[in-house]
Structures are given as C-alpha cells and as structure tokens.
Symmetry: C2
Subunit: 282 residues, 2 copies
C-alpha cells in the first residue's frame, strides 16, 4: 500500500483534485486544512484537521499521529494576517522570525526544507501525485499564437525573468510590445481584469505565466484552469502561455474547450526558447 | 520678452499650471491640445488648437504659425487608440512606423529628438518653466519614514531599477519587504487602489515613484499631487518616496497639509543612496 499522503491545504481546487487522485488509487490521505485559506467544500468529508497557519506544531502533530509519510503543499495561501501567522513554539523554532519579512519564495522554500531536513517528511510536488496535471508542450487546443503574439510572449518571458528574482512577476500581460500589467500580490485574476480596459482595440495581447527562477515549485507551482481562460477571454486576450511541465492545468478538457470556443490559444512553452538577442526590448 | 512657449498638452492639471506660470511672468504661450487627452477645462481660454495625436504635421504648423520657440510636453497621454495615433505624412516621416510598438520611453524620446533635431524647436522640461514644482530633498512635511519603512523604500528602489529598463515600473508599493503592486499601464491611482486591500493590517507600506533609468523626463516626468496623497492615505500607506529634483509636485502646500493631517510622510530621496549591498532582497 502506498505511503499515506498528507495534504497541507490552502485555497482553490487543488487539494480536492489531490484527494480524488488518492481515492482513485486507494491511497490513504489526510488533510491539514489551513483556517481562512482552505475551502471547506473542497475538503468535504476527507479525514482532516483545521489548523491555524502559524500553528506548525499542531500541524506536525496531526501528520505524525496520522502516520503520514509524504507531504504535498496544495493551493495558494492568500497573504495572511500577522495574527494568523503568529507562530507557535515549533513554528518559531524552524522558521526563525526574520522569515515573516521574506517574500513567498523565501518563506515557502524554508518551510519545505524544514519539513524534509528537520522533520523527516518527504515533500512532493502536486504534479508528482497528479502527473496528468502538468502542462504539456505546444498548443493545447486548436489555436496558436501568430508571429506578433509570439514576439509578445518573448517579451513577457524577458520581463518575468527580470522580475522573478525580486519575488514579483508570477504573470504578465503584453500587447504589441507593451506591458499592460505585471502581477505582484494581487493575483492572476485581478491582473487579467485590469488589463482588459488597458488593451488597444481588437482582440490581442497575451498573458505569460511562469514559475520564477528558483521558485520552490513543490510548494507553489503556477496554475491555470477554466476560470483563468474565462478571465483572459473577458479581457479580450488572444491567449495564454505557460511553462510546459512546470504549470498545473486544472480541468484541461474544459480549459481546451473554453479556449477553442473563445478562439484563444493556450500553449506550453519552454521559456528559454523565447529568450533571443532579438527581442523587442533589446 | 521671453520666447513664446508651446505647450503640447496631454491630460491632468500640468498644462494649466504651465499656462498660469506664463501669464504670471507675461510670457506668451500657445497650447496644442491633444484630442481625447487634454482637459478642456484646464485649457480654458488660453490661445490653443485641438489636434489629433497622430497629426504631427498639423501640430507643427500651428507651432510655427504662432511663432513658438520653446516646447514643453505636459501631462500624461493615456494609451491612445490606433485611430487616434494614425500618423499624418509628417508624423510618418519622423516617427517611422516601428515606433508604435515601442513602450512610452522609446516613443517619447524619439518625439523629443525629432522636435529638436529635425524641426528646430528647443524642448524644455516642465520643471524648467515651473522651477518650484521639482521635488525637494528630504521630508516635505512633519513625518519621516522609520527604519522599517526605509528598508521598504530601499527595496522599492531596487525593484524599480530592475524593471525600469523593461519600460515598466513607474511606481511600486512595498510593505514589510513584500511588493504589493507594481505599476505598468494602469496608472498610479489604480496601483494605489488595489494595494489597499493587499496590505497587512495597521498603517504601513510605502509607494516609491521614480523616473525610469534613461527616461526622457522632458517629455514625461513622474508627478504627484494632492490626489496622490489622498489615494495613498485611503490605501493605508505610511508614506510616499519620490526622486528629489526629478519629480513634479503639484500644489505642494496642499500635498504637505494633507500628508501631515493623515500622519503620512512624503520624502524626496536620491535613489542611489538607497541601493546598498545590504537590502532585503539580496
């Protein structure tokens, strides 16, 4: 029998997909659901415990008591209040207080390291549990970026490469060589919504969403789903480019169907291929 | 008598301040007001002509017919439609079509060069006409950033230095070492509005607004005014940092009064002073 999977559940649908996958393969599973983050409807009747974000000691006690061997961190954690983050003794020990002022990447990377090195769990990425969730290479549906949009993708890649080390730039929207918006703490949906009215007339523009260089993708992998497609369509974008193999695609059938219906492309790229000496910003 | 000033007027209050300054010094002035950009209430009864953005030939004919010697470009041009930009023959000649796909900096820099080198005008910055509009060094009012906020300012400077060469990042909002938002095409007010709900509880966070490295400040200098202070206050920020000598401060008395009343600092910095090996991102 497979080792028991512990899901540290933030928001969104990913914890639910992981639970389903475990059930389908009869793998035992336990969810540590973070208060104010995880969606009770997604957790449902799966064996679980609710824990405050800062209460690492409690979370670890649950995982140990349940005999969990592997851990997956699933779903975004919207920026918590300091009260929610207030570390218990265990959290204080393995985090060190300075981390609260780190960006996401620093914090999540430290948590993954602590879980593995200090606490003896194996931390796996969601795409290891759900192999078919990783973005494939090339166009997902019936549409492809044209030459102009490909240039915008290249510029988007360049922008994200420059901003990633600053722990910003999960996603960027580019149209005709101009950056309409760059995501920082507001989330991808807010980015897409504000870029609609900033576009030049006519369908056009692309959202590029990539992991940051060095991002701890086991804790935080970029994700898209049908809602992303709808938000991009409502903003009039021509399509979306994501990193092949390093993006979670939820409900891919629906993603493809909705993109095709909207006449939009969704494409898995290898970002390095788009970095040339010849891009529009050089 | 001073040489006649031609104001190429985009949006906002700056063209009006320039007209007032000319009147106060009895300097002759003529406004070329761009359709869909300039505010008719700001232009008022000053001698002027309305011109489509792309109609460079018409704009130049007006400036010549009026005997204008110096030109100042004043006020932001919100991203125009392609129809508004459609160049007349003169514009096509001196712009070259590729420029439409450049970011603001490339486009404005090319326009300034063309006006000076090809058309023989002198292009001056708004702060040359309105010397007391340039941001002074140090705190404008009664409040100063504390040590933590100073670290956020340093991080903001670092972010803007990295993003400026990509023609994004007019302004950034940082709180406790985390970038809440970075301005691209949406404008400073939209940036401030979305960062309010993204802040951790308690007053805190700073907006840093700087010229981009190499920005053609004669055509496009960063500006703040009382509305900026109000938007930052409504988003709960601790204050605003701008580049001393390279930012226009509209209605400084009001800026200071409103910042003081809100308990906020506004400070003119030399960005280079904030770049150390020791900043929170390194």
């Amino acid at each position: 029998m497979a080792v028991k999977l512990g899901i540290l559940a933030g928001g969104g649908p990913l914890p639910g997909y992981l639970v389903e996958a475990c059930r389908a393969s009869q793998r035992p599973v336990f969810v540590v659901a973070f208060e104010g983050q995880a969606d009770p409807n997604v957790i449902g009747d799966t064996p679980h415990a609710w824990v405050r974000l800062g209460a690492a000691g409690q979370a670890l006690d649950h995982l140990r008591a349940q005999g969990v061997g592997e851990i997956v961190m699933a779903g975004p954690v919207r920026r918590p209040t300091l009260r929610e983050l207030r570390p218990d003794r265990r959290a204080a020990k393995f985090l060190g207080m300075g981390l609260l002022n780190k960006g996401d990447d620093g914090l999540l990377g430290a948590i993954v390291r602590a879980l593995e090195e200090e606490e003896g769990f194996r931390v796996v990425g969601a795409e290891e549990v759900l192999a078919d969730l990783a973005a494939p290479e090339g166009p997902f549906g019936g549409f492809q970026p044209d030459e102009n949009v490909a240039a915008d993708i290249a510029y988007g890649v360049k922008v994200l490469r420059a901003t990633g080390p600053l722990d910003i730039g999960q996603a960027v929207v580019v149209q005709q060589g101009i950056v309409l918006g760059l995501e920082a703490a507001e989330g991808t949906r807010a980015l897409l919504e504000r870029c609609g009215p900033l576009r030049r007339e006519g369908r056009g523009g692309v959202m590029v969403k990539l992991p940051k260089p060095g991002q701890e993708t086991r804790a935080d992998m970029p994700a898209i789903g049908p809602e992303t497609i709808r938000a991009a369509r409502d903003s009039g974008l021509a399509g979306i480019a994501v990193a092949a193999g390093a993006t979670l695609v939820f409900e891919r059938d629906k993603v493809v169907a909705e993109a095709d219906e909207a006449g939009m492309f969704v494409i898995g790229i290898h970002p390095g291929d788009f970095l040339t000496d010849n891009d529009p910003a050089s």
